[in-house]
Amino acid sequence: MERIKTGIPGLDGMLCGGFLPQTANLVEGAPGTGKTTLGMQFIYHGIVACGEPGLILTFEEFPQQYYNDAANFGWDFRQMEQEGKLRVIMTSPEVSKADLEQVGGRIERLVQKIGAKRILVDSLSHFERLSRDPAHLRSIIYGFVNSLKREGLTAVLTRESMALLGEAEEGGDEASAFLVDSYVLLRYVEIESAVRKAILVLKMRGSDHDKGIRQFDVTSRGVEVQSPFEGREGIMSGSPRRMADSFVQAFVRR
């Protein structure tokens, strides 16, 4: 089966080769975990390694921020824009939604013009201000996600989580996890008084995937997924325990 590689070797391995074509893929994490970097790397890899032009739809950051951030990893997004392989579009959820609902809207024309195959939407969290009704919000996001697929795009959609460590808080947009094809979770983890980062593929529709929780880091080359956390449990709680400690707690101290 054809796969859309993210360009992050460890993550592509976790995804059994990459995302499936024309799917919507949610990447959720707390501020600073590397959601946008992961998305930019997906776009960059598409352009330089796969000949697949891309779009970045930003609802908050200015395009200049993406050019600067990308340059830190040696990715020349400005040059890619000049070559017609990339467009960084600053807009709002309501306008992009309405535009995609139109026949021959601006985004549709842009997709055709540059032959875009990939899109980064940064971030889906901004849709939350369009409706307080969860059912209505779900319907809005469902329509938006489907319009991206209709355009033949494979999408990385970021979503902000305010939980720095441990379980995500209640409230906000809980529906999008059900609407997307894959769900990648980025978490901070506290181990021995140091904060590390964990990545987990929670869901991948239509494909097997690695169920393990791996460490990752954002280096000068972008996101790098490393080895699984070994000998620990409760990673996603944010404060993992050594499995030996749990064993002692469960059996010896009784």
Binding site: F62, P63, Q64, R87, V88, I89, M90, T91, S92, E94, V95, A98, D99, E101, Q102, G105, R106, L110
Partner: protein, 123 residues
């Protein structure tokens, strides 16, 4: 020296095309901000309310200026459902002129001239 002499001296060495662009289209500080914003974000299409947010102003402050820039052909106004949205004009000539204007604005002397022109125009 009377005011006309000073104006003439300040504008004499300005590129005639840029001078015309300045006098006809960028005749307020808000418009200057807006053309700079669309120059830096050429693919933006959005409502007055959202553009105001990006520019750090209020929608009421920029609504008229956006409409005038659209009338003058610097921006394009279109209807998206029930929303009026603005984007940079696709006209190559306008985009080149805007590029020249923004580049020239990097020069302090040019900025002084623009400020003088705008203040004089508001009297």
């Amino acid at each position: 020296m009377d005011e006309l002499d000073l104006t003439g001296r300040l504008m004499a060495d300005m590129d005639p095309q840029l001078l015309k662009f300045l006098q006809a289209k960028v005749n307020s500080f808000v418009k200057w901000d807006l053309v700079r914003f669309f120059h830096d974000n050429p693919h933006t299409t959005d409502t007055a309310g959202n553009i105001a947010r990006y520019a750090g102003r209020t929608a009421d402050t920029i609504r008229v200026e956006l409409a005038e820039l659209a009338q003058d052909g610097v921006l394009e106004e279109s209807q998206l459902g029930d929303m009026a949205v603005y984007s940079l004009a696709s006209d190559r000539y306008v985009r080149d002129l805007l590029e020249q204007f923004v580049k020239a604005s990097d020069d302090r002397q040019f900025r002084v001239k623009v400020i003088y022109h705008i203040i004089r125009g508001t009297r």
